[in-house]
Symmetry: none
Subunit: 314 residues, 2 copies
DNA sequence: CGGCAGGATGAATAATTGCTCGTGAGCTTG
DNA sequence: CAAGCTCACGAGCAATTATTCATCCTGCCG
């Protein structure tokens, strides 16, 4: 057995004794026959390796209330609101944690299903919160391209991350979110080898996607999928947000533009039949999120308290 | 809203900040506008109310849980469960490795102690995993005979193997596990030169022993210590297992039989004062192991996950 | 064979967390 | 309305945990 694995075994053991067994480091050290410092190191390693998953199992009344209002107001099927914590980083972790829990619930289903994943920092963090799950019965398909214009895999890619965590078959989309031209898009999505993936993307049982803004900071611009001119033109046409590349206005209608003509992601329409859940938060994104739920491009939302409150206002 | 609920909401929020947000109590206090002590109280409440769910995302966690159940159910002092791997060989290596670790832990003790060793394939493999240890302060004594009926040293002998690894003085028992007759047994164990060894065997500080089945494959029969008639008769009397030759029934009571009258091993009784640890695994051995721990012939167990699960059932 | 880099170890120390206790505000009750 | 009671609060202290640092061990290369 590999020595790293061995060590991680011990780390997991120590973590179990500490968190489940409620033992203190001294006791763990004694039981495991090591020094207290070593026990502490193991615990620290277990934590660093993400072996320790914590979840707060309590519906905070205020959040529940806001979630209920949002559900009612926008006709959402699913809406989860987590408390806003100290800063964006903490709040992001909270939203990611909630998203991860929901993804886990879906993946725990016995029956086989197809899960579609978009992109987004939050989504990515959610996947990292996910425990290892054995769910070979499921298939997970990317709803959008997985590579940046420069050919690298985009840093916010989630599909490759989830492949490390779960045993489900994953289907990436090896292409940019937005192609250079409509012709290139046509050529890329027409690839024979992508038929399965594209087919699956059209019949997902559940989708989790992030929400991007078009005004700065626009992920599409940051990653070089659209130019500053594109961005300005889109804004002039009323664009406020995008979901897996599809750019829409404040009413949630896709914008007629050359950019949308180059998006190679799975199609998105209003009132999806299956759960389509947006995971996003932050003051910047309020307009984009509101447009997405107003236009019923999604029927589910996971966000934080502050964002949720902003969405109930006006 | 009820004041208890409100409090619990705050507790949950504090827990989010602490566990998901990774903030320290000072920071939580600042963010929530309360004193550090209040924050601490909220966290403590959240914990007490079971709001904080922790799990360890590692195969070992399952094993730890099962081990805890076994300890409780059978009143074991020590119980270690290792993950079941691909096949019996790999799993055996894992159990042996765990056993070796525990033996090593005992041998690392500064103070002088007497360790008793039984037989068994697993125990043998455990010794082979042992590193070289300088521990002249200890004495290691065989709890059972070290030679086969044909005069050879039984292939599963562990005492000679450990002598290569550690510098402790070893005391073998140059006789068969089970003698040909009660008279032969009396003559053998009466040998003057064995006085020291027998004396040590009676006051071991810790014992590691394997568990054998009486139904095929029965090590005692395979090695020719008992005849097929013996075996059948023992089974008819309800024998399910043996520890260093002592044959017992499903309740862990030694069986009244000529075989047990010929066993030359160290005596075994229920509820040993000192740690007496069984190392065994495999579906064949479940009944024998269960009987041994039910009858409290041993107070410790090292096994694999599958076996452990089988032991928790029924 | 010796020296060196890297990692592991344990002691000392710093930081953080948990607990106890006295105080006082707010509520109940006579 | 006052006495008594409860309970939350924060200070101080004890316990526990995290970090730092010097040292040691180990494997590896010259």
């Amino acid at each position: 057995m590999n020595s790293v694995d061995r060590k991680l075994d011990d780390a997991a053991r120590a973590a179990w004794l500490s968190h489940i067994g409620g033992m203190k480091q001294d006791e763990i050290a004694q039981v495991m026959g090591i020094s207290r410092q070593s026990a502490q190191r193991l615990l620290s390693q277990a934590h660093a390796a993400g072996l320790v998953k914590v979840r707060i199992d309590h519906p905070i009344a205020r959040c529940m209330g806001i979630a209920a209002r949002l559900r009612e107001r926008y006709g959402l099927d699913t809406c989860e609101v987590v408390p806003s914590l100290g800063g964006p980083a903490e709040t992001g972790a909270a939203v990611a944690s909630a998203t991860g829990d929901m993804i886990e619930r879906w993946l725990s289903s016995r029956s086989s299903l197809v899960m579609g994943l978009g992109t987004g920092r939050t989504l990515r963090a959610a996947i990292e919160h996910l425990p290892h799950i054995d769910c070979a019965q499921h298939r997970i398909v990317s709803l959008t391209g997985n590579i940046a214009p420069d050919g690298s895999t985009a840093h916010y890619n989630v599909l490759f991350t989830i492949a490390d965590k779960v045993s489900a078959t994953t289907y990436p989309m090896p292409m940019p979110v937005i192609s250079a031209s409509p012709e290139e898009r046509a050529a890329l999505i027409g690839q024979k080898t992508l038929e399965t993936a594209r087919g699956l993307a059209q019949r997902t049982d559940v989708r989790f996607i992030g929400v991007g803004t078009i005004a700065d900071p626009a992920p599409l611009a940051l990653d070089g999928f659209i130019s500053t001119e594109d961005q300005d033109r889109l804004i002039a046409k009323g664009a406020v947000g995008e979901l897996i590349g599809w750019v829409f206005d404040e009413r949630g209608n896709l914008i007629e533009d050359s950019v949308n003509a180059r998006v190679s992601s799975a199609p998105m329409g209003a009132d999806p039949k299956e759960p389509t859940i947006a995971c996003a938060f932050g003051p910047d994104k309020v307009a984009a999120i509101r447009a997405a739920i107003r236009g019923r491009l999604v029927n589910g939302l996971i966000t934080d308290e502050d964002t949720a409150v902003a969405l109930t206002e006006t």
